[in-house]
């Protein structure tokens, strides 16, 4: 373990554009993904800004209804498929999975690079489509509107998502094989960091779910282009079958987004409580339980479709069950805090944000799993608020927390702690101001996906738009200082937070082969009772 920046590391081992575009180093590919994903986040964010601007006033005065339809559709597609799903696995997972298990790289480095190219290809397809006219079905592509009636560019966007799905599958496959076959000597399954368990469970979902989305898109495209009949009611086909297929992937996709964030939370909460995780086997197993149960609840998106009431009841009960492993995690993180030496560095602030917001998102999810309530608030802003609490309040908080936590390892530099804490606070305030009013709006009956609304909803909408502006500022600050500190930040030691885990036992930034000598593991994860707090607990940034 060294406290100086090593002379050669993965960032400076070679130079030039080719050394990046043809790299097989998982750490470089993680940074390539970081660039792509951030770009897509900005694209998706600007669509969100347009939505909030339009909703500032009750009249549909900024965009026409058709334009607005395209804007919220593209916001959803870009954010879900090109930011939330790849975000944590492809960036943090790519960087950390091999390091945490003491491997030199992922099992299939070329497939890893291919996955990044496929991601960009899919993203370009989609962005190209935005330029030539957009798509207006909502991110769900419901038939028969998508196959028969809309005149917008369904097929290019669907192709983009199809291709990106393969990048997802390759990442998941790589993780599964790597975690199974390439763990360091002594690193048994129950010594693995919980980040690895979370990514393993995520990969299982990716492998089982994404192919179903792929075939769904194929069928959609065949129906639209060649007029084959699969979902067409004119031929006796069932449009609801499309919804079943779509949600069979797209509900588990929510867990593709949230599980890696949960892995990040487990790492950070132990580090800044200086404690072992409370109930390791339960936190680990709850990831797998969420992955499994996540495949059995898709019908709760379809309570008001033609699904039978009996099916609705079954899906309702199964949806309640997902709360159990989710609550196990939240309670165990909270119990980890108990009597811990808690300190409030930026990553930990994101953890606290995550805990509160994910709990609100999860509990409102239980409300929505009740058939009666769901019928009342279906397709209202209540739903919008609920899933943003999970996806933005949960996933993005975990993502940003993780980026800060591992940034010293990734870049070899410390991020500015003051700015970090400030922006975490701004994001928390901005987020709640944006989305809490939407719970109320939805409960009062404001439907989603309209560009105009009755005047009595304006006050809450103005609050939401104001919150979105604050949130936007909060996101831009880390973007600026994380890039800035890569060159000009204070040089980081190899383990500035005094964290356990193999990734901290190698120089920062790590060498291309990750470890100067192959590591060996002799104890369970999170042995914080054996590691002194660095610098008396304060992290001077």
């Amino acid at each position: 373990m060294s406290d100086r920046t090593p002379a050669t590391h993965y960032l400076n081992v070679s130079y030039g554009i080719r050394s990046w575009l043809f790299t097989r180093d998982h750490k470089r590919i993680a940074l390539l993904y970081l660039a792509s994903v951030t770009l897509m986040f900005l694209v998706g964010g600007s669509f969100a800004a347009m939505v909030r601007l339009e909703l500032l006033t009750p009249a549909g005065d900024l965009f026409q209804a058709d334009t607005y339809n395209k804007i919220f559709t593209l916001h959803g597609i870009v954010m879900v498929f090109f930011f939330l799903i790849p975000g944590i696995p492809a960036v943090l997972g790519n960087f950390l999975v091999p390091m945490m298990i003491g491997a030199k790289d992922l099992a299939f480095p070329r497939l890893n690079l291919l996955s990044w190219y496929l991601f960009n290809l899919g993203a370009l397809f989609t962005l190209f489509n935005i330029v030539i006219g957009g798509v207006d079905t909502g991110w769900t592509f419901y038939t028969p509107y998508s196959t028969t009636w809309t005149t917008t560019n369904i097929v290019p966007v669907a192709l983009g998502i199809f291709v990106t799905g393969f990048s997802s599958i390759l990442t998941g496959l790589n993780f599964i094989v790597t975690i199974h076959k390439m763990r360091a000597p002594g690193l048994t399954w129950f010594r693995l960091p919980l980040f690895i368990w979370a990514h393993y469970a995520t990969s299982v979902i990716i492998m089982l779910g994404t192919p179903v989305l792929a075939i769904t898109i194929v069928l959609l495209a065949l129906e639209r282009v060649f007029h084959l009949g699969f979902f067409d009611p004119a031929l006796g086909g069932d449009p609801v079958l499309f919804q079943h297929f779509f949600w069979f992937y797209s509900h588990p996709a929510v867990y593709i987004m949230i599980l890696p964030a949960m892995g990040v939370i487990s790492e950070i909460v132990t580090c800044f409580s200086r404690k072992r995780i409370y109930g390791y086997p339960f936190v680990a197993a709850s990831s797998l339980a969420i992955a499994l149960l996540g495949f059995l609840v898709w019908g709760h998106h379809m309570f008001v479709s033609s699904q039978s009431v009996f099916a609705g009841l079954v899906f309702s009960v199964l949806s309640f069950l997902v709360a159990i492993p989710s609550a196990v995690k939240v309670f165990n993180w909270t119990a980890t805090l108990y009597k811990g030496s808690i300190s409030f560095e930026t990553p930990m602030l994101y953890v606290f944000g995550f805990l509160g917001l994910f709990t609100i998102g999860g509990l409102t999810g239980l409300m929505l799993a009740c058939l009666g309530i769901d019928v009342h608030v279906h397709d209202t802003y209540f739903i919008v608020a609920h899933f943003h609490y999970i996806m933005v309040g949960g996933t993005v908080m975990g993502y940003l927390g993780g980026l800060h936590f591992w940034w010293p390892k990734i870049s070899g530099r410390l991020y500015p702690e003051g700015w970090g804490r400030l922006s975490a606070l701004i994001i928390f305030v901005g987020f709640n101001l944006t989305f809490f009013p939407q719970f109320i709006l939805g409960y009062l009956g404001m439907p989603r996906r309209y560009h105009a609304y009755p005047e009595e909803f304006q006050v809450l909408n103005v609050m939401s738009t104001a919150g979105a502006s604050i949130l936007g500022v909060g996101y831009l600050i880390p973007l600026v200082y994380l890039v800035w500190c890569m060159r000009d930040g204070k040089v980081a030691s190899s383990n500035p937070f005094g964290a356990t885990g193999l990734e901290w036992q190698t120089p920062a930034p790590p060498p291309t082969e990750n470890f100067p000598s192959p590591p060996r593991v002799t104890e369970e994860a999170y042995a914080y009772d054996k590691i002194p707090i660095p610098g008396g607990g304060a992290y001077a940034g």
Partner: protein
């Protein structure tokens, strides 16, 4: 993936500790990939199951318009290609000399399958069985005066004068043929990919890349090829043999 390794000897890519770990990882990777393939085809089989359950008569009638003889011949050809593939894998594992020969034979059989499939597709075009505006499923087994082109109609052998029933039959038959083309088309696409992989193996084998110490690429392509065969083993009875027991 196999391409990570460049020599016939037990040389392994840098990220692996040894050749055995590499072999384990690559094999697990292929099985995991095949799992995704099962889910991919699973969507098609689900759609098939639901619509066959909904429209049993139309599916039975439509199935009679597929060519059992050609389909049966293709089944035999494909099972034969699995045999030659298995022989190629065995030859590679023991360092036998027949690797290239067996691989080429497998490619030949695979190509024959695709050729026959193309002939079948062509017949479907000629018989107006392509879903779309000009779709019309005739039934020669029915008396001419009951043909849908005529005045009266039958549905699934039950005489009916109701034109609505016949229209439904035609619609549901379109769903059958949509599924037929999607399922066999996706299968054929996988065959084409398999042929590409086999061609790559042939080139590598001719350069002496494989040995008893390093035969993983042949093995995992073999896994893939067998998987594609198994898909057909399910497709053939589900599509061709409905209601043929009488």
């Amino acid at each position: 993936m196999p391409a990570e390794s460049h020599a016939a000897a037990a040389i392994h890519a840098h990220q692996f500790e040894d050749a055995e770990q590499q072999r384990d990882a690559v094999t697990l990777g292929m099985w995991a990939f095949l799992l995704t393939e099962v889910l991919f085809f699973g969507g098609l089989f689900t759609a098939y199951t639901i619509y066959r359950w909904s429209f049993p008569a139309a599916f039975a009638l439509s199935s009679h318009h597929l060519d059992v003889l050609l389909g049966g011949v293709n089944t035999v050809i494909l099972i034969g290609s699995s045999l030659t593939m298995a022989l190629a894998v065995h030859a590679a594992q023991v360092g036998g000399r027949g690797v290239v020969g067996y691989l080429l034979l497998t490619m030949l059989l695979g190509s024959a399958f695709l050729g026959i499939k193309a002939v079948e597709y062509d017949h479907k075009f000629a018989e107006r069985l392509i879903p779309g505006a000009s779709f019309l499923m005739r039934d020669e087994s029915r008396p001419a005066h009951l043909d849908p082109a005529g005045d009266a109609v039958v549905a699934a052998g039950i005489a009916s004068a109701d034109p609505g029933v016949e229209a439904d039959l035609q619609h549901h038959a379109q769903i059958f043929f949509s599924l037929y083309f999607a399922m066999t088309g996706m299968h054929a696409l996988h065959m084409v990919v398999g042929l590409g992989l086999l061609a790559w193996l042939v080139l590598a084998a001719r350069r002496g890349r494989f040995s008893p110490a390093y035969s993983t690429p042949v093995e995992i392509v073999g896994l893939y090829w067998h998987f594609v065969d198994i898909v057909w083993i399910f497709l053939f009875p589900l599509l061709y043999l409905i209601d043929r027991h009488a």
